[in-house]
Symmetry: C2
Subunit: 419 residues, 2 copies
């Protein structure tokens, strides 16, 4: 046998961790424990993490001193031990900045260490590019919005530790390889955005910039801030101009070998269907994307996914029983169900979450999706009564997810981000 069967490669025993790295690890552990609890006490943290009360107190002092934690005046009788002063994550200091650049809008938000969405600017904008320089212009525009948000954040003593871009395309190592609906190809998004932002903030420290697929961070937002309860494995769809998808398995994104997983919008639902911007035919987004839906319903695509006026109009008409609107939504639902039945047969998730424009359309959309899932998922677990098809929470979106990814990095190693 050439390889050890799956027990993992034998690896050298861990070198003994030195004192500094143990402390670094424990600072993160204590910070994450407080963060997760919302409000807690030193004693409760000590009980939870299995360190002595004295050790926890020392770590907490450090985290208070560096601005990651604050004490509130009140005392609190937790489950473990005597009442103590309440600790919580700071609502000033280190924060995360998320910048979603979608086809027809830019949305920028700041999330504080506790995970609260604190500042937000969303601008309708046509980000489709029609010539070579276009992507840089779009990124420059987004950087200007980000700079404005950063200035306002500073007034509130919020200091983002980094920027995460959320983009509707195939993103890997800072480059958008392809974003069919933006018309982007091989755009070095991180580099261009970082240069633009730095130029707009003379004399201020450069912020690290990283990019991700917008559907991926939208799924993380649903995981962290949504209403999924104990669900840790799900498929997340974002209905926009395109249809984004992300796969979460045991609380982690399944990113694929090149970071390109989740492209459910390009699953084929009709082999000889209409041409897609990706070059294939009959992709799901040609039936269930926003443009396709509005076209089928006879609605001009006015407004944007943000203002949502056309989608709102579609939802109103569908609810009123207007035949063309009903037919458009039901056909989209049938095609969503067809693609989703394949994805569910393949992945066996606990639930499927529909975000973007879909929650607003659920009354007519969900029954059509459910019918396909009930008919086509081989396990028989997807009957409508099982409640496995869910609308995304209204409090989640890609920009918030992107900002929270930065927070995640801070929580995992606070020493790198202290003041």
């Amino acid at each position: 046998m050439k390889k050890t069967p799956g027990t993992g490669d034998a690896h050298p025993a861990q070198p003994k961790a030195d004192k500094a790295s143990v402390r670094r690890h424990n600072l993160s552990l204590v910070l994450r424990t407080v963060h997760e609890a919302g409000e807690t006490t030193r004693a409760a943290v000590a009980a939870r993490v299995g360190l002595t009360r004295a050790a926890v107190s020392s770590l907490v002092e450090h985290l208070l001193d560096q601005g990651f934690l604050v004490e509130s005046g009140k005392t609190f009788s937790g489950q473990a031990g005597r009442p103590g002063t309440v600790l919580k994550a700071a609502d000033t200091g280190p924060a995360g900045l998320g910048v979603e650049i979608n086809v027809d809008y830019v949305s920028v938000c700041v999330v504080d260490l506790a995970g609260t969405d604190r500042l937000r600017i969303t601008h309708p904008a046509d980000n489709r590019v029609h010539r070579a320089a276009g992507a840089a212009e779009v990124l420059g525009r987004a950087a200007r919005i980000a700079a404005r948000v950063l200035a306002r954040a500073a007034e509130r003593e919020l200091h983002p530790a980094g920027v995460r871009l959320a983009l509707p395309g195939l993103v890997s190592r800072g480059t958008v390889h392809q974003a069919p609906n933006l018309g982007w190809n091989r755009v070095e998004a991180d580099r261009i955005f970082a240069a633009a932002l730095t130029a707009l903030r003379p004399g201020q420290p450069e912020l690290p910039v990283a990019s991700d697929n917008e559907a991926n961070v939208a799924a993380l937002a649903e995981l962290w801030f949504g209403a999924l309860g104990d669900v840790r494995s799900f498929l997340h769809l974002t209905g926009e101009i395109g249809v984004g998808g992300a796969i979460v398995v045991n609380g982690e994104l399944l990113r694929g070998a090149h970071g390109f997983a989740g492209e459910i919008g390009h699953m084929v639902v009709a082999a000889d269907g209409p041409l897609c911007r990706c070059g294939s035919r009959g992709c799901l987004e040609q039936y269930a994307g926003q443009s396709a839906l509005l076209r089928a319903a006879g609605l001009a695509e006015k407004g944007t996914a943000v203002s949502g006026s056309a989608v709102e109009e579609l939802a109103r008409r569908a609810e009123a029983g207007e035949p063309r609107a009903v037919a458009a939504v039901e056909e989209a639902g049938r095609m969503l169900g067809l693609a989703l039945s394949g994805a569910v047969n393949l992945l066996d998730p606990e639930v499927v979450v529909l975000g973007g424009i879909y929650p607003r359309l659920m009354p007519r959309l969900a029954p059509a999706v459910d019918a396909e899932l009930a008919h086509r998922v081989v396990s028989g677990l997807w009957l409508p009564s099982a409640g496995r098809l869910r609308p995304a929470s209204t409090s989640t979106d890609a920009a918030r997810g992107a900002a929270a990814v930065v927070i995640r990095e801070v929580l995992s190693d606070p020493l790198s981000y202290g003041r």
Copy 2:
């Protein structure tokens, strides 16, 4: 924020491992290291695992004594230190028994600790059931074959530590929930097989029995014994009467929330296509399964997937350019490509491996599959020249994979299995 964003739940610090559990862990580490190396020395093992030479020697003595390792007479000059006596995994003693029950055959094999396929009996058999008691009869028949193989194994001093069943259906916690092509529903396979096997071996120790999906263990066989090189993330298809599928991500099976992941045979390739045994319409296996292929080629389904006579005939005709055979294989390839394009867009694997009847059909099949992948995978990474579509290795199959899963369990905790 209700949940710590993805840094994992804060968990209590690990209790200090006691001496016995450290030794238990290290025995496994040393055994796996020798197993993986094939042939090695104490000094090389010590260098690899980061333990002292003395500690490794003590562990090796224990493993020799318990029959997991053997010394060969020769000495060997490895990269680390002086020449030493060669150690390798024992080719007697603890072994694994794999039992594949597919639609038209049963295959039983014994794999030794080194991973070698040592004994094998394969019987053509119609395992489709048509009445309530049928599944128990099929399992009883398989147990009789297993008992014969166990008797022969004992003659060679091979003593399987457990049995893994490989079944073409949805398997979870010892029960086959559904196996459309077998006609099984809610069959407690583990319990029935174990009882039958125990009855056939009076006075002998009961063997633990566990079940898995046959496509899952076939994929593990490909990972452990195939020709994938460094590939650790792939999609594996097994063309039989049905079309099985399995997803391997970073060297581990993606099993899904209920253990039902990988059902690529029931991805829909034509919404209104022929009725499938699962109740849906237009499933991939209605176009690319063995029965569908032979029917389309005008070949009666004589022989079995094991003897392969009908498939062999199909392959000969397709290679000779017989129009109906060519059309059947190419249509199957087109439909495989259609379903796979969706799976690849969703999962972004490194490669796709086609097993079962497909390797024999590759000359006409692969170009049709490749054309769809090149056309429809949005990343553009699936051009035929990339070599991402591969036939399964001839040395891998579900029975061998199932047996190797038992070996994996032995390697991960040898103390539980020593003599």
